[in-house]
Amino acid sequence: MELLKQISFNLQNGFDEAVAELTKEAVEKQIPPDEIMNNGLIAGMNIVGEKFKNHEIFLPDVLLAARAMNRAMEVLKPLLIKDGIPVRGKVVIGSVKDDLHDIGKNLVAILLKGAGFEVIDLGNDVPAEKFISVAAEENAHVIGMSALLTTTMPVMKKVVDMAKDEGLYGKVKIMVGGAPVSKEFAKEIGADAYSYDGANAVETIESFFREDS
């Protein structure tokens, strides 16, 4: 437990080397990878998120913490998969066209990977056509879109409309998120779900699969 607290502490301070080393150490000590992830990394990231919301820290600190999180996830990812968490479904994710904000989207992607989903990350500034074409080619189960600008939210509707035109609607679930996005907006544009953070995104996608089976 001490070790996981250290991981959280170092992650909050953006010490990526230390976080990677401590994560390796935790693995060697036989702490289960999902426990390292949840009680070390995500616990730390939650505190970073909270402090950022309260304006106690600024973007540079968030970026450094996210980088540390990525480093540790490189260590954990092979183990999480080996650990018997089966690949549970394919998610195509990205920040929508004209939106360069990708920090939140990246966090969501990390958590989805951690939870055993195969994530195809299209990056930021992703055109509507790209979400649709990749989802079709890859036989994805979910399209996940992130928008942080009010001005880019309409792209989400465009993707939903295109999914309808291309006959993907209903087959591929569409999930939207990002600070200005809301449950009401998701409903209004015909998306299948809205989710408010990474953990909720995992739950939401899990619920899609429960509905299906």
Binding site: H55, P60, L63, L64, T150, P154, K157
Partner: protein
């Protein structure tokens, strides 16, 4: 026409123009298309927009070069055309204003985050800005406006490039701040006090803020700047944060509202007042009218 800085130092109040992006969309820019790409083949549109703002009474007219640094253009594979894109934009505005207003060459963020927080080397960003500034210098703009910067580090790179490649052309440096319960900060955590001191030291000729969260916040921002610098101030506020109504973007602040508040900006010591996202020639016309008694011509 008198030199811009001379007029500012004489205490004149000048009006700058309003939003560019929305005007481009109304004239055929497609979502996902590079706004500055229009400078290559459709400069008549740039002239059209410049004319509207000139007629509205703007004394300073910006060029369509916000995303004209090669690094930014690279996301549309247009980086090799950077010099031409920037020169054409300046020429288009110059042609329209014909000495009746100042041509202000706009330079926005490169869209990358500096190391160690992001993945881009400061040298690469600096070189990219140098190319843009060189084009500005060659095409003969009256002033350069580095705007919407959220990282003082990136701002300083652009400012240094301007001073090196366009010596003699005055530079206006404006940052975007978010209001927090602890005061105003850029996304990267820079304060107005820090920006004012750092920019003054680095040779900015005019400092201030653009975009933001509505004009009332800008009044507070201007007051804060005034405490920390003697340089002339520029404020180009957006018309509030946009709302999505029935799939349409709506900016809440009307021309009348912004014009009323513009007077308070003057009281706070601002010399140049213009608009940003969501403002139109109507906003600029209203601001010009409201400031009538403060303006000298």
């Amino acid at each position: 026409m008198k030199k811009l800085l001379e007029r500012l130092h004489n205490g004149e109040i000048l009006v700058a123009d309003g939003a560019m992006g929305t005007m481009l969309f109304q004239r055929g820019l497609k979502s996902g298309e590079c706004p500055e790409g229009m400078n290559l083949s459709r400069s008549f549109i740039l002239e059209d927009i410049a004319r509207l703002y000139l007629d509205a009474g703007a004394d300073i007219i910006q060029t369509n070069t916000f995303g004209g640094s090669p690094l930014k253009l690279a996301s549309y594979s247009l980086e090799d055309k950077a010099a031409l894109i920037n020169r054409n934009a300046v020429s288009a505005v110059k042609k329209v204003v014909a000495g009746k207003a100042y041509v202000s060459a706009s330079c926005g963020p490169c869209g990358k985050i500096l190391k160690p927080y992001g993945d881009t080397d400061p040298e690469d960003i600096y070189e990219s800005f140098e190319i843009q500034m060189q084009a500005f210098a060659e095409s003969g703009c009256d002033v350069i406006c580095i705007e919407t910067m959220m990282d003082l580090g990136e701002m300083l790179l652009a400012l240094k490039a301007a001073k090196k490649k366009a010596p003699g052309i005055p530079v206006m440096a404006t940052m975007t701040y978010d209001p927090t319960p602890k005061g105003f900060f850029t996304i990267m955590g820079d304060t107005i006090e820090k920006a004012a001191h750092t920019l003054e030291e680095a040779g900015a000729d005019v400092v201030g803020s653009n975009c933001g969260n509505g004009i009332e916040n800008m009044i507070r921002i201007a007051r804060e700047y005034r405490k920390h610098t003697i340089l002339p101030l520029i404020i180009q506020s957006n018309a509030g944060l946009p709302l999505l109504e029935n799939g349409e973007l709506v900016y809440p602040e009307t021309p009348e509202f912004m014009a009323m508040k513009a007077k308070e900006l003057v009281d706070a010591g601002v010399s140049i007042i213009g608009g940003c996202c969501g403002t139109t020639p109507e906003h600029i016309r209203a601001i010009k009218k409201a400031l009538g008694s403060n303006l000298s011509s």
